[in-house]
């Protein structure tokens, strides 16, 4: 069989597209979350740590006896708290969003590992929970509820951003905070709110990993997914619909490389395939960088009366 027919075979199988939707889910949620923050003018490099904390908190809640949806809620709340920390440092205090974000990532990741080790000091094989089961909606591929939720949230975020006064306010403080202030909007409050909400979404992406995709928490389980979401936001030019498209496209390549890796039968080192998502993200950044329409106030702190 030649190369093209192998690819065609893969693309025509239902199992492939089921996998694509599953792989895309954390990217959809993470990218949406980052997009909401950046639309309000705040870059959130805490995403990797927030996703890790979401994965750990969601899993830990269920492991301690809560039901799955309570676990999801716990993850979202923990994400929102880290988001509040990032917002408190970057919005009213105006600290460097780059460095603060890295700090939040370090804190979220190390705190997750610390708590996990504290509760399970000697677990060599991670204990498992009963995760969300796939359910088949009529005419759709069987997915777990969090995947349906992620796709629904794309529509919700798009509607809120473009069709409601709240969305207009968020976009305005990301484009021109001085004008927003002149309209009587509270720039600080709107930015903090957006970062908190966006961070809760990021934590859901992490919770999907432990409560849907896998049934346990592993160290390094987020493994750069957060950084890829940041690249996807640029690729999507800060639009929810395009973010969904980018995440799906990305998941197609990821699922494809997994299958090609199996098809190549170890002729090529598996690491070459694993590099693809990261190299693809860099390529996507280069391709769209020229015509990227950043929110104009992105990364610029706003202080009342200071120009």
């Amino acid at each position: 069989m030649d190369f093209l027919s192998i690819i065609l075979d893969i693309l025509l199988s239902a199992a492939f597209w089921t996998a694509v939707l599953r792989i895309a889910t954390p990217y959809v949620l993470g990218t949406l979350g980052e997009l909401v923050c950046e639309r309000a003018g705040v870059l959130n490099l805490g995403i990797e740590g927030i996703m890790t904390l979401g994965a750990m908190a969601g899993w830990m809640a269920v492991y301690q006896g809560a039901d799955l949806w309570t676990g999801v809620l716990a993850a979202a709340c923990c994400g929102a708290l880290l988001g509040l920390l990032h917002a408190a440092l970057t919005v009213p205090l105006g600290l460097s969003q780059h460095v603060t974000g890295i700090g939040v990532t370090l804190l979220g990741t190390s705190l997750s590992y610390f708590v996990y080790r504290l509760v399970l000091p000697q677990a060599s094989t991670p204990p498992t929970i009963e995760p969300f089961q796939p359910l088949a909606l009529p005419g759709a591929l069987a997915q777990t509820p969090l995947t349906y939720l992620a796709f629904l949230l794309v529509a919700v975020v798009a509607y809120v951003l473009y069709r409601t006064p709240v969305g207009l306010a968020v976009r305005m403080v990301g484009e021109n905070p001085a004008a927003a202030e002149a309209q009587g909007l509270n720039v600080t409050a709107i930015r903090i709110g957006a970062v908190v909400a966006g961070s809760a979404l990021m934590a859901l992406a992490g919770a999907f990993l432990t409560l849907s995709a896998f049934n346990a928490f592993f160290f390094n389980m987020v493994n750069g997914r957060g950084w890829i979401c940041i690249a996807l936001v640029v690729f999507a030019s800060w639009r929810p619909g395009k973010a969904l498209l980018g995440a799906l496209l990305f998941a197609v390549f990821d699922a494809l490389q997994l299958r090609l890796q199996q098809a190549s039968g170890g002729v090529l080192p598996y690491q070459l395939f694993l590099m693809m998502p990261y190299l693809l993200s860099i390529l996507a950044l280069v391709l769209v960088a020229r015509r990227a329409s950043y929110p104009r106030a992105l990364m610029i702190p706003y202080r009342k009366g200071e120009r």
Partner: protein, 349 residues
């Protein structure tokens, strides 16, 4: 309440800021230690003892500080020019890769000639790794934060591939590790029968050298000017693009040197766990030092002490050694606030 810029920051306040930040971080993390049920003061006492309490503890802390000084300098020089290099981890591994290739017997030179060659090879490899994202930044406007971060993963996979393939040690019992560097490439020990090696002397020398370059030369002046205001620097006729690329080579080179020094001074060969996140801790080191090359030494010693001490403490108490990472992250966030309070005054109204 609002923030008002200070016209000048007294030296005492600049020195007090990191101390205050560290104290605040220790106080916050005391809550976590208390949650584990361990007595807080005794835990911190053990941590301190484990970091500096004996000859062994002290040399271990200095050994651990060596790569942190270098990655801290790497972050400091880049951040000064507002080049957000978050990829020191990958650059470190590229430097280590170059060290095992060049120092692995390819060149048959005496130690006095081979060691400099290996170190320069490590620097070159790290520098070139950062040059890519820097060129993408100045040519296409691609944000370097994401590209340098993503490259960390690519480099680690590349290293993993080589360690299972071309560079795999035939005598390594099947482990993914490289063959050791030859004896002439090994850095001499500073203290007999400890792990402390000449890498520390190199790191200290470079801190002083960078401080002198920063304060006494046109190069340093240009770097600072570009970092403070690239448009004004360009208007004043400074070669902004060239300064950026120069900074990238230097920053990546310092991180690469950290990798080469770890290989030749400590481990002897390359494995995938050569660095427990030295590249990321370097960012914290640089921030605690307020991007000052001499301050980097003090900050690196502090962070190294936390890690070495926490390991000792967690062996004696039921406190997971991840407390070290939490302390480091908390110190970074506290330092950001402390730095702000040193630059601004809180005013009512």
């Amino acid at each position: 309440m609002r923030l008002e810029p200070r016209t000048d920051t007294p030296l005492a306040l600049r020195l007090l800021a990191p101390v205050g930040a560290v104290v605040a971080a220790l106080a916050l993390c005391a809550l976590l230690v208390a949650w584990t049920g361990a007595p807080v003061l005794r835990a911190y006492g053990l941590l301190f003892e484990g970091a500096v309490g004996s000859r062994f503890a002290l040399t271990e802390t200095l050994t651990r500080a060596t790569p942190l000084i270098l990655t801290g300098l790497a972050a400091a020089v880049a951040f000064r020019a507002r080049l957000w290099n978050i990829g020191a981890e990958g650059q470190l591994y590229m430097g280590a890769l170059a060290a095992v290739v060049v120092g692995g017997g390819m060149l048959d030179l005496p130690a006095w000639a081979l060691i400099p060659v290996v170190m320069i090879a490590g620097m070159a490899a790290g520098g070139v790794t950062l040059l890519g994202p820097a060129v993408l930044k100045v040519r296409f406007g691609v944000d370097e934060v994401v590209t340098t971060l993503l490259l960390n993963f690519v480099v680690l996979l590349l290293v993993s591939m080589l360690l299972e393939g071309a560079l795999k040690d035939p005598m390594g019992m099947g482990w993914p590790q490289s063959a050791p560097v030859i004896e002439a490439a090994e850095l001499p020990k500073l203290v007999a029968r400890t792990r402390l090696h000449a890498g520390l002397a190199i790191a200290l020398g470079l801190s002083v050298l960078l401080w002198l370059v920063d304060t006494r030369t046109i190069w340093g002046y240009e770097n600072r000017a570009v970092g403070a205001n690239p448009r004004a620097a360009a208007f004043a006729g400074m070669p902004v693009t060239r300064v950026m690329l120069r900074t990238a080579l230097l920053s990546g080179g310092l991180a690469g040197l950290a990798g080469a020094a770890e290989v030749c001074g400590l481990k002897g060969y390359l494995t995938l766990d050569l660095s427990p996140g030295f590249g990321y801790s370097g960012i914290v080191v640089a921030m605690l030092a307020q991007l000052h090359p001499i301050g980097v030494v003090g900050a690196a010693l502090f962070i190294a002490g936390i890690f070495v001490g926490a390991d000792a403490m967690s062996r004696a108490m039921p406190v997971p050694n991840y407390i070290a990472d939490v302390l480091v992250a908390t110190s970074l966030l506290c330092m950001l606030v402390a730095g702000l309070l040193a630059r601004y005054r809180l005013r009512r109204g």
